[in-house]
Amino acid sequence: MQIFPPNQGNNARGYQTLETPIEGPEQQPPNNWKGFFNVYSYTQYFDVDTDVVLNRLMSSLYPTSGDFFNKIDANPDLYGLVWICTTLVFVFASLGNCATYLVKKRTDSNARWDFDVNYINLAASIIYGYAIIVPLAFYFSLRYMGSKADLLRFWCLWGYSLFIFVPASLPLLIPVEFLRWVIILLAGSASSCFVALNLRSYLETNNDLTVVMAAAFGLQMILSIFIKVWFFP
């Protein structure tokens, strides 16, 4: 099982053996934070090939299959999280500006339109904040409730769940209000179902945890509505 924080290259392919090198019963366990500032101790989280990443992206578009955790079990990666979020920041900043441009030109063709650079700041804060903090919150609350949780796999799941917003942003340019709402609700519900169903299959039937599932679903829907309201008004 991959661990976080990373150990300094001790893991072959990310697996930590259970026997830590114990020199004597009074020995402290090895310091897990030694490799924190070394780039090479993080390569275990990026150990994926192009076809693996494409496979995971495609499977994120099918919300009902529910087997995402099986897919990533041996090798969860953070590449998807980082670059999907970055792509989303760019897509929202640029297409959001385009969308306001189109709306303005449609209503009043002489209106002055200016590129709003703050969209980039806003998009970055929202997307990165959501993608990092929400899995962290779920991890801690699930651990508190005593069920199993793995931070790395949660980050991987939420990262890939945001992928569907990238292709959905293109039709959002159409300056018809009703159509925009339909599109964002569809995309948002697909993404939320993806997260919720995969969480359920990971947590393996425990009735208390439907609250957790509902919370995941709700948060993702709130994110998608927020996107619509802020970037494509």
Binding site: T43, F46, T50, V53, T86, D114, V117
Partner: protein, 286 residues
């Protein structure tokens, strides 16, 4: 120290290894008793502009006179320009990232007392030669992994600041924010792209890659200037597309050579993303 060593050389460049090899081959007059100083590259290395004042005077004279035969292992007496030394002069200079210009160890120029115009001219010529190597079409280009040995960070710095200034100039509102966004995007983007390659298990030298990504911005600089002068949207789109393709084409061989071929697309996509976002900034700012 072979040229075929594929271990990544951190904080160093191949030209330093060449110089050290030349030095070793030239031989020391005092024979086998001379020991290489513990940190030979320190005064010569152009990479980080560390103020190396305590070591400036302590360079390795290539032909140490018999009088100071053992001094190559320690600091020489801190006389600014010791007249007793042979005309070896000073190699290290505390003026920042200047190098010797690859002139070897015969009779090296005194970079501390040369005219400023010489220094500037040397740096400019290096920027131009690096630019030609990276950006312009060259069917006889040698192995891209060895290219840009004489990397430097002045060129990328100029290009990034110039692009920020051009974008800021052509923006009509929020000029300072546009500059800030452009500069941060490019600088942080170059660092993140290099980290991405390293995390994917690729072999790349950190500063060499920063230098490379900076030089590949040159076509976008040209595009930004054209877009600033002519305000037609269609023309802007065409110009930006062409320069974007040119930049990506320039960056492609270096990035793809650095990683495992199965992960090439993973390493190249972020580069493409960064250049597309800069291109979009160029089009959208009017």
């Amino acid at each position: 120290m072979s040229h075929n060593d594929t271990t990544p050389l951190y904080q160093s460049s191949q030209s330093d290894i060449d110089e050290i090899e030349n030095m070793m081959n030239d031989g020391f007059q005092s024979g086998p008793g001379t020991v290489l100083p513990a940190r030979p590259p320190s005064p010569i290395r152009p990479s980080i502009p560390v103020s190396s004042s305590p070591f400036v005077q302590s360079n390795l004279p290539p032909l140490p006179p018999s009088s100071s035969s053992s001094s190559s292992a320690q600091k020489v007496t801190p006389v600014p320009v010791p007249p007793s030394l042979p005309p070896a002069g000073n190699f290290g200079s505390s003026e920042g990232p200047k190098t010797i210009g690859g002139s070897g160890f015969g009779s090296p120029p005194n970079t501390l007392t040369e005219p400023v115009w010489d220094t500037v001219k040397r740096d400019l010529s290096r920027i131009v030669s690096n630019l030609k190597l990276v950006v312009f079409p060259n069917p006889y280009r040698e192995d891209p992994g060895k290219a840009l040995r004489d990397w430097d960070l002045w060129g990328p710095f100029f290009f990034i600041v110039f692009l920020g200034l051009t974008l800021s100039w052509s923006a009509s509102v929020k000029k300072s924010e546009v500059f800030a966004v452009a500069f941060a995007l490019l600088a942080a983007g170059a660092v993140i792209l290099t980290l991405n390659v390293l995390l994917l298990g690729g072999h790349i030298i950190f500063f060499q890659s920063l230098s490379l990504l900076g030089y590949c911005l040159f076509p976008l600089d040209v595009g930004a200037v054209i877009c600033m002068l002519k305000d037609n949207v269609i023309l802007k789109m065409i110009v930006v597309c062409v320069t974007l393709a040119w930049s990506s084409w320039a960056a492609y061989p270096f990035m793809s050579a650095a990683v495992n071929p199965r992960r090439k697309a993973l390493a190249l996509y972020p580069v493409f993303l960064m250049y597309v976002s800069v291109g979009f900034l160029i089009i959208a700012i009017d």
